[in-house]
Amino acid sequence: MAATVWDEATATQDLDVVVVFRDEPPALDPLRPILDRLPEEQFPRRGEHIEIAGVPVQFLPAWTHLAAEAVRRAAELAYDPDDASSPSLRVIAPTYLAAMWQSDRGALTPRRSERIARLREAGLLDEDLLKRLLSG
């Protein structure tokens, strides 16, 4: 969804939420702290997703230091800037998205390469930061 926010919208099946835990989560059941706060009766499980308010959400523990940093430095945006009472969203910033896609574990698909090119063309990438993130 972050890619859709910064670039053009595409059909997506679920909403991925990358999470960083304050305390070390159980190694074999890292999502337990979240699952315990979302009772199944109210938030039905659908395979790897939890349905929240009609949206299949997949929680992903940050899988690398880069993913964790991307979450910590996420951009905060108004969901609807025309509405003063709009909730805000935390969305992974474009440079971090590009770095995550281009990193070893990022699965750089042709579509993602195109997105990176468009984000670069639009001036949304911080090239120095990107270099640093990819060399780290």
């Binding site: 859709t4 926010v5 670039d7 919208a9 595409t10 099946q13």
Partner: protein, 62 residues
């Protein structure tokens, strides 16, 4: 011909710029519409015996 190509490319660039300027709420509305179309296409794919693409329509209002 080159001029036509340039005009098409410029139009595409404009379209991408407009897309980027949309709010998250507007983007969600587009995602919902794309999901609806994909599910519709899946019906046609299934009817034609072709593989379908996994897609779920979110039950929300943007």
């Amino acid at each position: 011909m080159a001029d036509r190509g340039r005009r098409i490319f410029a139009a595409k660039e404009t379209w991408h710029r407009e897309q980027r300027a949309l709010s998250p709420k507007q983007k969600v509305a587009i995602v919902l519409e794309l999901q609806r179309r994909e599910v519709e296409l899946n019906r046609a794919r299934a009817a034609a015996g072709r593989p379908v693409r996994p897609m779920t329509e979110w039950k929300i209002v943007p």
